[in-house]
């Protein structure tokens, strides 16, 4: 009997080359791909928004976002993704669709998106300048504070963008991009960031 190994490969596996990129000197942008996560889309059933919210609160201890926000729970981030729906992002194995199924039974429909997206964290002094080339939304700190989220587009491709906790005094943005577009968008991100100098890496830490 043949021996199969089920290697997991991130959609950025080939494109991501860890290390410096672009202009020399201190990097203005840090790009980190976060690997090994579970991502479940939770969509309330008709008239069941309240029940869904209750179920979410029970499971995560925080209210599910009902506006464009990313809400941090102990071991998950709940990210608004549209009317009556949000994404549950957690470290691989924490909140799988199998685990969440019973929680939302009857109140919401679940769809596994764990493999449908790549997760990229963008930080650094020039993060906003770089993102201004890709995103049409206003990322000024007064407008897009910590925890703000957006379902939006970059390079004509749908993305989910939210601002995480600041890192080293700098704003940090997270991007969920569709897996089959990930490599293409990655190159566009690098082109946009190159003039500022980039540090590239990947991590399983959120």
């Amino acid at each position: 009997m043949a021996d199969f190994s089920w290697d997991v490969r991130s959609p950025l596996d080939r494109a991501l080359v860890a290390g410096p990129y672009g202009a020399q000197g201190e990097a203005g942008v840090t790009l980190t791909e976060i690997r090994n996560f579970d991502l479940v889309q939770v969509m309330a059933r008709r008239g069941k928004a309240g029940e869904m919210a209750k179920a979410a609160k029970t499971r995560f201890g925080v209210a599910a976002p009902d506006k464009p926000e990313a809400v941090g729970a102990a071991d998950a981030t709940l990210i608004w993704s549209g009317p009556d729906q949000f994404l549950v992002l957690s470290k691989g194995g924490k909140h799988t669709i199998e685990a969440l199924g019973p929680i939302f039974a009857g109140s919401a429909s679940l769809s596994d998106q764990s493999h449908a997206r790549a997760l990229i964290s963008v930080s650094g002094e020039k993060a906003r300048a770089m993102l201004a080339k890709l995103s049409s939304i206003d990322l000024h700190p007064d407008v897009f504070g910590v925890g703000a989220a957006a379902a939006t587009s970059m390079d004509h491709t749908s993305v989910t963008l939210w601002r995480g906790a600041d890192r080293g005094g700098q704003a940090a943005f997270n991007l969920l991009v569709f897996a089959t577009f990930a490599e293409s968008l990655w190159h566009t991100i690098l082109d946009s960031a190159a003039e500022y100098g980039v540090t590239i890496g990947h991590s399983e830490e959120f």
């Binding site: 969509m43 309330a44 008239g47 309240g50 009317p83 009556d84 049409s136 939304i137 587009s153 749908s158």
Partner: protein
């Protein structure tokens, strides 16, 4: 043009896809061919304030009813389609 999505806030035109006049209502099943012809093909083609269907394709995927002036492109109101946000119906 910028459209204020009732769910996402103000967004750039490129995030939206246009369908057209929101006034025609899909006829009931037994309305007959003439009614469906009218629904599918005839348009008021309003020169002025018009209610339209737009899809927030590059955002939250909600269908929206946008009130917009076709002479000036000025948008005076945006509301979700009946089924966008329907989870709150009766809740």
């Amino acid at each position: 043009m910028r459209i204020t999505c009732p769910f996402c806030g103000e967004r750039e035109l490129g995030e939206f896809t246009y369908l057209g006049d929101a006034k025609p209502q899909r006829p009931v099943a037994d309305a007959g061919e003439e009614a469906v012809y009218d629904y599918v093909y005839l348009r008021d083609n309003v020169a002025g304030v018009m209610s339209e269907h737009w899809y927030h394709s590059g955002g939250c995927r909600a269908w929206l009813k946008v009130t917009r002036n076709t002479l000036t492109h000025e948008i005076s109101a945006v509301e979700p389609a009946a089924g966008a946000g329907a989870a709150k119906v009766g809740a």
